[in-house]
């Protein structure tokens, strides 16, 4: 009798678990069962997605489609997750694959074709070889930043280009996030590859010999080591973005205390695309068109710190004044990048971590 009581309670708990699992299953399959559902759209993005709700609400109002956003790591992680799950796609569309990983996504067949109507200024930002798969939405310039107020106080001239960073005058002053662990870090490695060609390993060796510090992520470099960051560090040269200086305008001040070196920039272009095997490809196409529209483009600088691809969209005042984009950013051919990405990263790691 007692045994029966115990078995009964056991059965009940097992039953409860089964019910829980069934509940999970059904909530999952409600997505799968939504094949006919054209009113919801799932979009995977990188972690920096920060588009305000009212912008998305405007899209819903105009199209009747509700957008569900799922951040999936940085651009590299996002791309690789899509490659791994291409037989059973995570979502209908993607936003946030950039030109450092774009060719991988295209070559792996992750994306379906969609040829969006681009603003004229966005034509040159298309991904060569992936023109019909990925639509450029925004871009940012990863550049070396300097703390001008620090250099003024020390009575020194700040550096102006990549070569200066290996000059003994700037020994121990530079900090950058690593190429293997951060998107801007990878962009900077590519900037040096673009500038120095096959000699880039020598350049990096010289950087390391000149006391360059490599941290794991952007926040570590900027907020701990950079003199103008939140933590008040002791290195006045940092790798960041051309859009960083406006954030260093002191309270009550009118000018930033830092500036970006525009000859050191690598341009990161971010794309959107329809996923192959999506349940609602038309919805994603509509959303991509919306992303190229004025309202979305206008929200980009303030929320995600990037430039809109539509040059006719006005930048925020502080950006127009203190955050100009680079005129001639450094660039690497996508085919070259795709063929060498892992090799370069491995070589880079050997130089920096020895």
């Amino acid at each position: 009798m007692r045994i029966r009581v115990r078995s009964l309670s056991t059965l009940l708990t097992v039953g409860a678990l089964t019910a829980t699992l069934a509940a999970c299953g059904s909530s999952g399959s409600s997505d799968a069962g939504a094949t006919e559902d054209r009113t919801t759209l799932t979009v995977v993005t990188h972690d920096s997605w920060a588009v305000p709700d009212d912008v998305l609400a405007a899209f819903t109002e105009q199209s009747g489609i509700t957008v569900k956003v799922q951040p999936q790591g940085d651009a590299g992680q996002l791309t690789n997750k899509l490659v791994l799950t291409k037989d059973s796609p995570l979502a209908d569309g993607v936003y946030g694959i950039d030109n450092t990983f774009g060719s991988r996504a295209v070559d792996e067949g992750v994306l379906a074709a969609y040829d969006a109507d681009l603003p004229a200024s966005a034509e040159q930002l298309r991904l060569p070889g992936g023109e019909d798969r990925l639509t450029p939405v925004d871009y940012s310039d990863v550049c070396v930043n300097v703390d001008d107020s620090w250099f003024e106080k020390e009575g020194k001239q700040p550096p102006t280009d990549l070569d200066d960073l290996t000059d003994p005058a700037y020994e121990g002053l530079f900090v950058t996030p690593g190429a293997t662990t951060s998107s801007p870090g990878l962009a900077f490695l590519l900037a040096t590859v673009a500038a120095k060609g096959a000699d880039w390993p020598d350049y990096w060796q010289a950087l390391v010999d000149n006391g360059a510090k490599v941290t794991s992520g952007w926040s570590d470099a900027y907020e701990v080591d950079f003199t103008a960051g939140g933590g008040g560090g002791d290195r006045p040269i940092v790798l960041s973005y051309s859009s960083s200086p406006p954030f260093t305008v002191p309270e009550g001040g009118t000018e930033p205390t830092t500036s970006a070196l525009l000859d050191t920039c690598f341009r990161q272009v971010e794309y959107a695309g329809v996923l192959a095997g999506a349940e609602n490809p038309e919805g994603m196409q509509e959303f991509i068109d919306f992303m190229l529209g004025r309202e979305f483009q206008q929200a980009l600088p303030d929320t995600m710190y990037v430039y809109p691809v539509d040059a006719d969209v006005a930048l925020p005042e502080a950006w127009a004044e203190f955050a100009p984009a680079a005129e001639e950013p450094l660039a690497v051919e996508p085919a070259d990048l795709d063929a060498n990405r892992e090799k370069w990263l491995r070589e880079w790691r050997d130089i920096v971590t020895q």
């Binding site: 056991t10 972690d47 992680q77 690789n80 926040s219 907020e223 933590g231 008040g232």
Partner: protein, 541 residues
């Protein structure tokens, strides 16, 4: 016949946690490792073996082993005396200290990394030591996170240990050192081994700490798997390292299970002594440990009260907003509520499953199957979170088990993280119950449930409450699995903090620091509440 029924009942009971483990751990990991072994539809074990011959893999493995060993030893050296002071002595403020000790364990690594680095970077107050980017900094940070595990698991065990044997030894003329060596430490062994094995697993699979503190100069197996999977998409190499990790961890668990066996000790509930002057060394050591734990927290609090050059509460006031230029989609306050809700579900799940496992593995006898069960539930700690996370994506992706978009996924994943801690907190206490008490109760006519209610529960309820609080705290601070699975509409507090710290501007940085202090304060409050609950009920017993 009764024995047979008993075995069936046990098997049924074990089925519940085993099913959860199979579904949320074994299946996803197997799916991910399988992809590495079968890269293009063909089984290629040779390629996996080739990976293991790479010199870099050897370096990575060596660093993992020695940094985890050093981190574990340092955690024990700092944690054991602290466990004694906080769990065997009675003094004012003890409950608060017990609660504070848990805080480091639940803070997001990225925040601790920044707080730590602000101390040891060359511009920081400890900059002169030259620790920044060194292996010493990694080991120190590992200990910072894990001292709380030692204090919690060993402390809970120590608290319920019968002091009469020590008193008897002392009365017979043993010096305090002899008592410690011949009575206390042997009796304490199961608790210490339990704690050490958990800490070792945490240290050897540390991810954020190694990335942030090591400045990329050092890599352990966990960071290597992360890079191979998320950056290079080299699944074969990642699978090779995952399998290696699994083998090493299994070996260690077998070893730990051997050492953990111990004779049962009877227990009594009686008031703890107040400190005497003989306790001075222990108290000093505890004070030193607390200073080491509090220094990074103090640096965090200082940063939260500052914006640029101005000091004040502006960062805290901003927590109800979405940050500078809408850095966040929901305010920090809302994320806190989400975190609390999820933690409640996760802690309940972990407690339910963990108690069942602890109950089963602590029954006397049972031999090999029970030992196996015990070890199996430790494995999730020893496998890369990246492998598990990606495994979720590639295995649980089809009806009827398409869990990728289920709201339950985050609490379930957090429960899997907290589960081994629950088992390790409850099992040693249950195991040290003298089985003769159960037999006596049974011979007096008590049924199995009655025995459970009158013998096991009174012995273990402190540990159960401790485990519940710990599970709740772990879930509050969990970031790895959560960031992997969380959806954007309901981010948890650690996810929000991570977002804030990754954005430019003094306001966002200040808010990240203030939000971290709120997380720390919430954890302390939860642990204090658990403490009160345990304290309040002592009188009833």
């Amino acid at each position: 016949m009764a024995r047979h029924r008993h075995a069936v009942a046990t098997a049924l009971l074990a089925a519940l946690p085993l099913a959860a483990l199979a579904l949320f751990f074994v299946y996803p990991v197997a799916g991910m490792v399988g992809r590495g072994f079968v890269p293009d539809g063909r089984f290629e074990p040779g390629a996996v073996l080739e990976v293991l011959t790479r010199p870099r893999v050897h370096r990575v493995l060596w660093f993992t082993l020695w940094s985890a060993t050093a981190g574990t030893l340092l955690s024990l050296v700092l944690g054991l005396p602290t466990a004694y002071a906080l769990h065997r002595l009675r003094f004012p403020g003890r409950d608060l200290l017990r609660a504070v000790v848990v805080v480091p364990f639940v803070l997001p690594t990225v925040v601790v990394g920044v707080a730590f680095r602000q101390l040891i970077a060359s511009s920081g107050p400890l900059g002169g030591l030259g620790l920044d980017g060194s292996a010493v900094a990694i080991v120190a940070a590992l200990a910072f996170f894990n001292v709380s595990v030692v204090v919690r698991t060993v402390g809970t065990f120590w608290e319920s240990m019968d002091p009469r044997r020590e008193e008897a030894a002392a009365a017979l003329g043993a010096t305090p050192w002899q008592v410690l060596r011949t009575v206390t430490l042997p009796a304490l062994r199961p608790g210490v081994v339990s704690a050490a094995s958990v800490v070792f697993l945490f240290c050897s699979t540390a991810f954020g700490v190694v990335l942030t503190m090591g400045g990329l100069r050092y890599a352990n197996v966990e960071t290597e798997i992360y890079l191979l999977t998320t950056q290079e998409l080299d699944l074969t190499a990642a699978a090779a390292l995952s399998v290696l990790q699994l083998l090493v961890v299994t070996g260690l668990l077998v070893l730990a299970a051997r050492v953990r066996r111990s004779p049962p000790t009877a227990r009594t509930a009686r008031p703890l002594p107040r400190p005497r002057w003989t306790h001075a060394p222990v108290l000093l050591w505890t004070a030193l440990t607390l200073v080491l734990l509090l220094a990074p927290l103090a640096s965090l609090v200082a940063a939260s009260l500052r914006r640029g050059e101005d000091w004040g509460l502006q960062n805290y006031r901003a927590l109800a907003t979405t940050g500078a230029d809408n850095a966040l989609l929901v305010p920090v306050t809302e994320a806190l509520v989400t975190s609390l809700e999820i933690a409640l579900v996760a802690a309940s799940l972990a407690l339910l499953l963990g108690t069942v496992v602890a109950y089963l593995v602590s029954r006397p006898g049972g031999g090999r199957p029970r030992q196996l069960l015990d070890g199996v539930f430790m494995l999730p700690l020893g496998v890369s979170a990246v492998t598990v996370g990606f495994g979720f994506l590639v295995t649980l992706d089809r009806p009827p088990l398409d869990l990728r978009s289920s709201a339950l996924l985050v609490p379930v994943a957090q429960a899997m993280v907290a589960l081994p801690l629950v088992v390790r907190t409850v099992a040693p206490v249950l195991r040290s119950v003298d089985d003769r008490q159960r037999q006596a109760a049974a011979s007096l006519g008590a049924g199995p449930l009655r025995v459970l209610a009158t013998v096991d529960v009174p012995a273990a309820w402190r540990a159960l409450l401790a485990a519940a609080g710990f599970g709740f705290a772990v879930s509050l601070g969990e970031f790895g699995a959560t960031s992997f699975l969380a959806r954007d509409d309901d981010p948890t507090l650690p996810v929000v903090i991570y977002r804030l710290i990754g954005r430019p501007g003094a306001e966002n940085f200040g808010m990240a620091m203030a939000a971290s202090v709120v997380l720390a304060a919430t954890t302390t409050a939860v642990m204090l509440a658990v403490q009160r609950l345990r304290g309040g009920s002592v009188g009833v017993l």
